[in-house]
Every structure is written in C-alpha cells, then in structure tokens.
Amino acid sequence: MNTFVLRPGLALSQLRQRIWPRHPDTAPLTLSQRRIYVLPTRAGLAYGATLALMLVGSINYNLSLGYALTFLLGGLGVIASVNTFRNLAGLQLSPARHTPGFAGELLHYGLQLNTARPRPGLRFQFADSAQSSFNLEESHTLSLPLPALQRGWQAMPRLTISTTWPLGLVRAWSYARFQEQCLVYPAPALTAPPYTPPEREGAQQRSPEPDDFFGLRPHRNTDLLQHVAWKASARLDEGLLSKQFASEHGSAIWFDLAHTPGTSLEEKIAILVRWILDAHASKQSYGLKLGTLRLEPANDNDHLHACLQALALI
C-alpha cells in the first residue's frame, strides 16, 4: 500500500476542488484574486471585433492616429478588466441575519458586506434565480431574496457575486458557499374551515368567562390597582404581579394538530397556519399543541414565530 500510484484522476479532482470546492466557505469570506474569475462579456467581444476592424482600417489607410486611437481603446479594454477585477477584489462577505418566509413566497438571506471603498454595480445571484444589483457605497447589510420552496430549513444556495463595472466589457465573478440556512414557514391554507373548539370533558371544555381568573403576570404601570395580586406578590418576592383575566386575552384558544380537520399532515399544517395568522391578526391569544409539544397561549411576534417554526419543523 505504500507504493506510489500515479493517479491522473487525482490532479483532476484537485483542480475541480480548486474551481468548485465542495467544502463550504467560512465567514468572513474575503474575495481574493484566487477566487475571482474574469471573462469578456458579449459587449466585450463586440468591442474586440470593432477594435480588430479599426486596426485593419488603420493599416490599410496608413492612419497613424487611427493606430493611436485603436491602441488607446485596446488599453482601455485592459484597464477596464483590471478595474472590474478590482471592483470585487478585497470585498468581504459574511452571512447576516436571515428573514424567514412562507413557502411559495420569498425568504431573505442576510449578507454583510464590508468594504473600504465604494463598489458600484455589484450583482448577486443565487443559482438560477434572478439577480439583484446593488451599488455599495460603504459597508452594508444586504438581504437577498430567494423563493421559499418547502417548509423546514432551506440551505443557502451557492451565491454568485459578479460585476461588469465600469465598462461592461468584462465580467468578474466569484462564488460564495456559506453553510447557512433559513427557515421556511409552511404556506397557510387559502381557505380554512373556521376554528371550532374541540369537544372535551371537564372544566377545561368550558370557554372561560370574561371575569375568570386566568393567571399572573408582571405588573405594568397601566394595570388597575385592584388587579394587583398583593398576596402572591408578597409571597413570590418578584416585584408586583397582576392578575390576568380571560377577557384580557380575548378567549385564549388552543390549536391542536390532533384536532385539526384535513386529510393529510400538510393540509392540517396549512390550516393551522391559517388559524394562527388569523388569530394573531385579530389579537387573540392562542396556544399550540403538536403532539407532546405545547406552546402556551400568547399573542406577540415572538410567539407567532415560535409557533410557525414549530409547524415548519414537524
């Protein structure tokens, strides 16, 4: 096994590794000359062809200034390539906070760009999706949209950063493969049956009366004095507590996957998402039960996202 075997495949795979490395990039990623590729664009090819024609014209008619003009434009093409390359070189990228989205809509990957100089005309493109242009004046956080496909974690695809600035004659590009993922919430059902409280035995079946005691929460300045739970406050030594009443929550409702109508899991999830969104919009407290997972009733953004995340990851 210690014999050296010449493996032509090895060099090839190394080369491929150089060009399309499998391993993800670590943040922050600085675009160095080794990862920036430069090739002429169609406009650049047309420019080259025009210069060739101009050179032939200059030779044929012995135009000294024609030579000069052609050579100046040739130099301009070279300088444009250097500038295009420079527009990417040294740009520092790192992933930033991503914004989840519903399946079928857009999610946004955050990308922090660090630069010491303005870089106009940067283009960002995920795999096959549309590209977005951006003129970077100073360090900035971008959020790049991508269609959200399926609920769950969606990995950040390979990102192509390119530019044709300043003259559009050459395109410089580089790839970034960050091991990042963004959450995709399940798509809400377009039409959902109205929520009906499940038939249950015992006291819990009865929806709470408006004046029913519901629980305790930290005191707020706007709370009425008569709602302060003096005894409990004294006992627990955590500052003032206020009594909470059912009416304050609206009627706290429980959404339970097990009691959701629908033929398939996905359909049930879609209906649950619809209910949750509707409840959130109408400022009702709601709780969510997914098998053993219980999310206590509340009505705020964190709760909404927690519920949606739980549903996304079932």
């Binding site: 047309a46 012995n62 135009l63 000069a68 434009l73 040739g74 301009l76 300088i79 500038n83 005309g121």
Partner: protein, 656 residues
Amino acid sequence: MFSIFKRKRLALNPVPLTLAQSWWLFAAAIAALVPLLEHIPVWLSATAAVGMAWRAWLIWRAGRLPPRWLLFILVAAGCVAVAVEYRTLFGRNPGLALLVMFLALKLLELRSARDGVTVVLLGCFLLLASFFFNQSIAAALLVTVALIVIVAALLSLQHVSTPRRQLQQSALLLAQALPFMLVLFVLFPRVQGPLWGLPQDAFTASSGLSESMSPGSISKVAQSDAIAFRVKFKGQPPPPQQQYWRGLTLTQYDGVSWKYRPEPEMSELPYEPTGKSIDYEVTLEPHNQRWLFALEKAGELPPASSISRDGLILANQPVRNRLRYSMRSYPDLATDPKTTVRIFKAALQLPNGVNPRTRALAESWRAQYDDPEKIVQVAIAFFQSQFLTYTLNPPLMQENAVDAFLFQHKRGFCEHFASAFAFAMRAALIPARIVGGYQGGEVNPVDGYFTVRQYDAHVWVEVWLKGRGWVRVDPTADSAPSRIENGLSQAVAANESLPLMARNNYAWLRELRYRWDATANAWNQAILGFNPERQRDLLSKLGMPEPDWKQMTAWLAALCGLLLLGFTLFALHQREQRDEAGRIWQAFQRRLARREITIAAWMGPATYASYAAAQLPQHATAIHAIAECYAALRYAPEQTAAHLAHFKALVARFKP
C-alpha cells in the same frame, strides 16, 4: 440549442434605459459626428441632425420610440439617397455615409443597454473614420474630447452618477490606458498599407499643381498658404536662383491651356551625376499626383519611384499620404539626356491660327538669327522691353491670350510669362516646354525646416539648345527679378491681396505662425510619419539591434504584461483598510473570543454587548461602555479624535 439561446436572451433581457443613459448616448452620438461634419454631404448632416433632434424630443417628452417598420423604411430611403449621392453603396465615403445614417437611426431604436453598446462602438469607428480627412493636432484634440464623452456614455450603461463625475471617471480610465497606447504605438509591428486595393474615392483631390495649366490656374494656387512640402537640407540651402523645385512638365498646348504628357519612364538615372551636390530630405504633403518635387538635376531616385524621359521623378503610386524621401541634386551638372524624337516633336507642337502677332514676331527672329541661343537672348530682351507687370490679379485673357498679354494688357502672373515665352520659342522653332513646380521657400527659424508653400507655386520654361541640352529660362524672373530674389510679396504691388504668410508685415503673427508650423511639422514627422522604416530607426536607436517583428512582439508582450502586472498589483495593494475604530473593536472581540464569547455576523454592538455581558456579568459595565462608545463612533454624525482616543483607552483597560 434554440432553447438555450432563448434563455440566454432572456437572461440578458433588455433592461430599459434610464433617462440619464439615453442622454449620455445621445451626447456620445453627437461627439462621434462632430469631427465628421465638414466632410460628409450637407444633406446627410441635416438628416442626422433631424433624426437626433427627433430623439432628443422623444427623450424630453418621454415619448414612444418609432415603430420598427418606420425605421426600416427610413434605412431603405437612406441607402437609396447614399447610392444616388455616390453612385454606389461600396467604397469608403458611401460606407461612411451609411454608418453616419445608421448611428442617427440607431438612436431612434435605443431600447436597451445592448443598443447603447452598439451606439458606442459605432461612435468609436466613426472617430477613426474622421482621421481619413484630418489628422492634425486640432483633430486629435477634438477626437480625444469626443472619446471622453463616448466612454462616459459606456460608463453610464453600468452606473450613472453626476455628469461631472462620469466625465472625470472616463478621463481617468483613458489616462490609465495611455501607457498601453504608447507601448503599442511604438512596438506594434507596423505594416505598410494598403493591405488591398483602396477604393477609387479614397483620396479626393488635394490642393496644389494639377496636370493642366490654363490662365489663372497658378494664381489661384498662389492664394493659398498651405504647405506643399518641407525640406531639411544637409548643409546650407542653395541660393534662390537655384531653388527651382521641379514637379512636372507641360508640353501639350492647345492655344489656351498647357497639359502634361506622360513620357516613358526609367528605373535608373540616364546620366552619371558628377560635381557639387546638394543633399536634402523632402517631406511632401499628399497631393494625389505621382510627381515628386526635387531641385533640378536629380542625382538619385527615392525608393518606389522612376525618372521619366523628360526628367520628372515619379512615384509608383500617387502620393496619398505624407511622404518623406531623401534626395540629392547636382545643380551645376550639364546634362544632355538623350532627347527622343517624340519629345522633340512634342516640344515644337503649336496649334495653327492662335496668337498671330507673337507668331509673326518669333518667325521674324528666326529669319533674322540662325543661332537658337541668340534668339533666346533676343526674346528675353524683348520681354524686358515690354515693361510687363507681374501681378496676382491679371485681366482675363481668353482668346489669343499670349498676344493680349504681350501687346495689350502687359499684366500677368507667372503662367502668362511662361506661356508667352514658350509659345514664342516654339514659333521660332526652338523646342520649349513649361515646367511646373515651386520656386523659393523659406527657412522656419524655429525648427530649421525649409518650408515651401502653395503660394511658392511657379512655372518657368525649358528650351533645348544644341550642345547644352534643356536650359531653364524663367521669363518671370527676367521681368520681375524680385519675385525670385525676395518672394512673392516683393514682386507684387502692395495693395494686392496676399496670403497671410506671404506678407512681410505683422512680424509677431509670422513668428506665431512659424512656431505653429514647427509644432505641426514635429507632429507630422514623429507621429503621423511613424511608418515601418521610422519604427526600425527608432528601435535601433533605443538599442534593439536589427529589430524584426518577432523581437517587437516579444518586447510588446513583455511591456504590456509588466504594465498589466503593475496595475493589478496596484489594485490589490489597496487592501481593505478598516478604519481605526473597527480595528480596535476587533481587538476587543479577540479578547472576548479568548473567553469563548464569539460574535455572530449579524450582531450589532449593542446586541453583542448584552450577549457578552450576560456571559461575563462581572465585566458587564465595561463591556457596555465599550459597546456604546463604539456605536457612537460608528453611527454618530460627528466624530472627533478625542472620542477615538477614549475608545482606545477603554479597550486597552479591558482585561477580561
């Protein structure tokens, strides 16, 4: 295949041009057309102007572009118009006219960045085309300005900023391209054009002498102070009496005008030059004729030229570019190149029935004297006795012009003198011909070049005397000797209108003009005259022994590579230099990282501080202070050095 193509097209889907981009492209089109305006037909300029005004109106009003079918009709109409104007669609000028029209019409279908690139490339090509007509310093400057505008338009397709900034950026890019241009200009292996036959219309008639001389034709040339050619003498210029620059002979006379008649050509001198020689180098402005100007009795032939039986030096091709050639003349050489019967006959030919008085006079001389030389002397004496006046504005003499000149008006320019003298000689049966060329010239005190201008155009006579061969007789000099001694201005009356440079007053203006001429000459010699030969000379001087195209290419590649490397290194050298505050903030983070507290990319200073403070409650105050200070440095509108120093001190004191 088709689907891939389609997808690509979609990927490059035409993003509609913004208003600013449209204006930039509009400006680029104007910039490309301005240098050409005086060289294209008026109707074409007008059409282009209308098309562009239409476009400007559309941009202004944000109107819809005309439909394709209308543009198609316009293109077809334009092609027909060009075909009618030039009788063909092929060739240099019709091609140029078509390009001008396409550019104007392209503006009317400017929809996407792709169309914009087309306009820019067409513009570049038209700038090159303007050099067909004019390669002067002024033209070069004009084209440079136009190029800055055109490149700014190309820039605007990528990124629009303020016009001023855009022009600055364009000029900066072009300035960076200059070193490449210089290297390429000097080292790109030059090929002597043309690569193929030039179209017939490539060169329009230039000013200067033409193949026929009728009364008034030379005085017309003499109204111009354009430069005919420049001469660099290896020693002192010869005296004015020897400054006769021979161009062509005019042998055929039809009673009104004298015409050039081609004679057989030889590739070698028909005589052996001996005696004192004058060495000089002529830089001839293109005159679209074959004859090369030289002092009398040429001692050698420039390359690609021949000498005709009547002693003219003829280039193999009409001179259509500025031409430089070395010459040597032997003014004292007495030669008798074998005159053929054909030339003899031609030099005696006279139409019947014209100028009866002169003819009668000449025949009386012939009857009186046997010796042709004596007859010539008598004729010269007669011319002097007639008190002929040398003037730029002779009266119109159409029929029997020689009689009218000699006996009636007695006022004429050199063509009248020469024509009358040659006529008289022929009538006296002495072979005579008129020689057209230039006489005199002046030394430009700035660069020492001897400059011969159009107003130095002159004609004189050569008569054939047995034993002496062709002998020059200048009847103008005999009647108005100051013309030869001191030039045109001394010879004509003070109130006649002369070209500026021919006048003797306005010394400072002449001085200015001399400087300008010297600059233009340097430009012509060094830049416009940079041909394969000059390139070899220059490279040899720079230390490249026997430069050939392989060496030039190698040097070219090496120097361009070096330049490219230099620019790239410069680009890379300008690293990301994070500001001082950022650097200190990173040092702070590194310290916390040692305590296993790392920052996520999305965390701002405040978030990071709360996170770190929660992990290290004992340092919470310090951490929050540092974060607040950093946030203030980062986001506060005003920052001072004191803030930064405070921040630095805070971080330095922080030891988790």
